[in-house]
């Protein structure tokens, strides 16, 4: 009898890239629902715009690079980029802002560096930083969370859609009426104006730790993140490193001077800390790859986030922190090579 010839091993691999990406997306679903619940339907429109333009950018670049666009889209990595970008955007964002971010993320940050697996920078964060610098005003339009007792005019679905498409508010509403500073902005400007943390925390949008609504999204992101940890889709080193890098200095400063430094709990639940720890910094392509290296990478991100929040002119520093540590990845990977069994210390067997 005759047979076909193959290479060992003859057991089918256990996982695939598309299934990994889909599980990451699934882990984001509870937080997405919470986002819509608290901040209105804008998130969905942002997600749709980001996904469409990310897919368009992916298709265009794959065609230009003579690759099969269908196979490229089926890895769902562009969709993950779009989803992360949508989480970073205020719910009121005009479509061209989102589109610019999505296109920059996929075309420049990802494909001009060689496509999936070769990009040095986290595409979603690169796209976000570009629009943060290009359209700073638009990224301030955070609506207040709809919590019942917070008395702000809520926009209807059609009004939100109209804003996404035209960038214009409905008649009779002003930016001042619908948008509110984020908790991090409130904290930063309050401290800059020599108010104490206790006074700032009396502002109605502040919750138990971070901002109201934000905290709940944070909880759901954490649930998704722990699920990814249990499924071993992400590993613990990066989230733990970010936690340590951010919370250790925050705790020290808060202990020394609680009047003018926000609590560690605030830093954990405010802004994009949890999203970053479980979903953004854990992008394997742009992160460090050895276990020790990942921890160091996480600690670096945490420290930079804290530094920007404390001394920087931006309220949050997640995107910059991730991009800066992306640059450090080759050095981290080189310096944290594991000990190869049978080799002398440091794994290197130089001749």
């Amino acid at each position: 009898m005759e047979f076909e010839r193959h290479d060992a091993p003859f057991i089918t691999p256990m996982v695939s890239v598309p299934s990994l990406m889909l599980q990451v997306l699934a882990a984001l679903v509870p937080a997405a629902i919470a986002h819509v619940w608290f901040f209105g339907p804008g998130f969905i429109f942002n997600l749709i715009v980001a996904a469409l333009f990310a897919a368009a950018g992916e298709t265009l670049m794959l065609k230009l690079r003579n690759r099969n666009p269908v196979a490229g889209l089926q890895d769902f990595s562009a969709l993950v980029t779009a989803a992360l970008l949508a989480f970073a955007l205020p719910s009121l964002t005009p479509w061209w802002v989102t589109a610019t971010g999505a296109l920059f993320a996929v075309i420049v940050a990802k494909h001009l560096y060689g496509g999936l697996g070769f990009n040095i920078f986290n595409p979603a964060m690169a796209g976000y930083v570009v629009i943060l610098v290009a359209f700073p005003m638009h990224l301030n339009l955070w609506v207040a969370p709809q919590m019942g007792d917070l008395d702000y005019p809520a926009m209807t679905v059609m009004q939100t859609l109209a804003f996404t498409l035209t960038g214009a508010l409905p008649d009779g509403l002003t930016y001042d009426a619908v948008s509110r500073a984020t908790p991090l902005d409130v904290m930063k400007s309050g401290l800059n104006n020599a108010r104490t943390v206790v006074e700032i925390r009396a502002v109605p949008i502040m919750g138990d730790f971070g901002g109201r609504g934000w905290e709940w999204i944070g909880n759901f992101l954490a649930i998704g993140g722990f699920w990814l940890l249990i499924k071993k889709i992400i590993r613990w080193q990066i989230p733990a490193g970010i936690g340590l890098g951010l919370l250790l200095p925050a705790t020290i400063m808060y202990t020394i001077d609680p009047g003018s430094h926000a609590s560690p709990g605030f830093h954990l639940f405010a802004g994009a800390t949890i999203l970053c720890a479980f979903f953004i910094a854990t992008d394997p392509v742009s992160a460090a790859t050895s276990p020790r290296g990942r921890f160091i990478y996480g600690v670096g991100i945490g420290l930079i986030i804290y530094s920007i929040r404390l001394w920087g002119s931006y309220a949050d520093g997640v995107a910059f922190a991730v991009l800066i540590m992306n640059m450090a990845v080759p050095a981290i990977d080189y310096l944290t090579r594991p000990h190869i069994v049978g080799h002398d210390a440091y794994g290197a067997q130089d001749e």
């Binding site: 047979f3 010839r5 003859f10 057991i11 049978g342 080799h343």
Partner: protein, 505 residues
């Protein structure tokens, strides 16, 4: 019976794989009858090919020496049954490089007539270790775990080092394979007897018998025997069921808690590893005077109707084995000699069972998988690598053909266990890529060595030419000097003589 798990070292990574051993271990080992033709390859392992001692047309007897080692590394081959040598010709065999190898083909006569041995060897206890090793060499004994390194030479090498522990490998960590499991259940006494012979040959008194925790019956059989023997040199150790804990270096790490140095051997850290099947074969040869002419092999997979362990004569074509035990199922698509992680896929079942054949695996086609995708650097490969390599970095450097980095990142330490392939979400055939890269590194090293030799030759030639030139110049200078000293009359005489010479020519 207590489960003896203690004092174990730690192995990095590895995988818990679906064992698929249940079905083949249910029945006892069955004997495959003498086939019509026996095919005995002259190349069965590392080292030099053996040199046939018989002619086409000769009658051979069971156990007769028919091919002898030619170089320094190898093991002799014996006829597995009686019959007539009908050919010495290329035949398909299972190996990674090249499909065919010269084989002695014997047409059996069905009498299975054994060769008469004049010399009944004395009890091994009365022999010196050197004589014992020579005798083991003559039995054609090689490692039966799959690597088939000639046992006598391995022992001889180990005798030059300080050895503390003999480790009997009954781990059998690869899925599907269960021949050692069945052997330990059915022939525990022979395995232990072989271990004691090996201890005598090595002149040491510590032997660990390592068995994986998913073989409770084998552990039970060995433990019961050890209890009755009261030989405190032999210690049973249960190791966790994690692939590839049965790799030679991995087992040393696990059982003796010592790291085999890169490029070194277990003997460098005072250990010698032998498969349990090898120990039983040594017993058969030294106690029953039967050379290595048969082995236990697992025939299994979803392409086989009745998976089972068989004892087949070396040289039995795989087709005969499978036919005897009930044939292929409808799903048979792939024939693999060895296990599903490290085995070799072959195109025909004409290949014979050889000393290395621990498993004949017939699988249905692996389900269609997604095509290879780019590496996303998830690092799962590094998490499972038992040698703690960074396969994702190695893959990168292999693509770039960066020899220096490949060496630095330990490509040559890769044991090709295949764990990284299995966890790679991008379905990159890492192990196959690493095999190719290793081949290229070897080629480059050869090329470099050739270049060095060529340069040395070139420099030697230049030196010689220069030396000759110098010698000529010195000679000329001496002639001139002596002529000058002799004065004008002598110069005139020399010139005359030269003229005379040229006229004569």
């Amino acid at each position: 019976m207590s489960a003896p798990t203690y004092d174990l070292g730690k192995l990095h990574g590895g995988l818990r794989l679906t064992a698929n051993k249940q079905v083949s271990t249910e029945q006892p080992i069955i004997d495959v009858p003498v086939p019509e033709h026996l095919v005995l390859p002259l190349v069965q392992h590392v080292g030099d090919p053996v040199h046939p001692l018989i002619q086409i047309g000769d009658r051979v007897l069971k156990g007769q020496l028919i091919a002898e080692v030619e170089g320094t590394l190898g093991a002799p081959v014996h006829a597995s049954s009686s019959g007539k040598v009908v050919a010495i010709e290329p035949w398909p065999i299972a190996r990674r490089y090249g499909d065919n190898a010269p084989c002695i083909v014997i047409e059996t006569d069905g009498k299975d007539e054994p060769v008469k041995r004049a010399d009944i060897p004395p009890s091994y206890r009365a022999m010196t270790p050197e004589d014992l090793l020579t005798l083991i060499l003559r039995g054609g004994i090689v490692g039966l775990g799959g690597a088939v390194f000639p046992t006598a030479q391995k022992l001889m090498q180990a005798r030059t080092c300080k050895i503390d522990h003999l480790i009997l490998n009954g781990v059998e960590c690869e899925p599907y394979i269960s021949c050692d499991d069945r052997l330990m259940r059915e022939r525990a006494a022979e395995v232990i007897s072989g271990a004691r012979i090996l201890l005598h040959a090595l002149q040491i008194d510590s032997c660990f018998i390592a068995v994986e925790s998913d073989k409770p019956e084998a552990i039970h059989a060995l433990a019961r025997l050890l209890t009755s023997l009261q030989d405190d040199r032999l210690v049973l150790k249960q190791v966790p069921t994690i692939y590839p804990s049965g790799g030679e270096d991995q087992l040393v790490q696990l059982v003796a808690n010592r790291e085999v140095p890169s490029g070194g051997l277990p003997s460098d850290v005072g250990c010698l590893v032998q498969n349990v099947g090898t120990a039983a074969a040594i017993h058969d040869w030294l106690i029953h005077n039967q050379p290595l002419i048969s082995r236990v092999t697992t025939v299994t997979g979803d392409g086989i109707n009745h998976p089972v362990n068989v004892r087949a004569r070396i040289g039995t074509p795989v087709a005969d084995v499978i036919e005897y035990i009930g044939g292929y199922s409808d799903m048979a698509e792939q024939l693999i000699i060895g296990g599903p992680m490290t085995g070799k896929s072959v195109t025909t079942d004409r290949v014979p069972v050889v000393k290395a054949t621990n498993s004949i695996l017939v699988l249905s086609k692996t389900p269609a998988i997604n095509p290879e995708m780019p590496c996303i650097r998830c690092g799962d490969c590094a998490a499972v690598c038992p040698v703690q390599l960074l396969p994702q970095q190695l893959f990168w450097y292999a693509c770039a053909d960066n020899e220096v980095k490949l060496r630095q990142f330990g490509l040559t330490d890769c044991i090709e266990c295949g764990c990284c392939d299995l966890v790679c979400p991008s379905h990159i055939p890492l192990t196959a890529d690493f095999r190719i890269a290793k081949g290229r590194i070897r080629e480059l090293a050869d090329e470099k060595a050739r270049a060095v030799r060529a340069r040395e030759r070139f420099e030697a030639r230049n030196d010689r030419l220069k030396r000759e030139q110098d010698e000529r110049e010195t000679q000329l200078a001496q002639q001139k000097e002596s002529a000058r000293k002799a004065g004008p009359a002598a110069i005139a005489a020399i010139l005359r003589r030269k003229q005379q010479q040229s006229e004569d020519d």
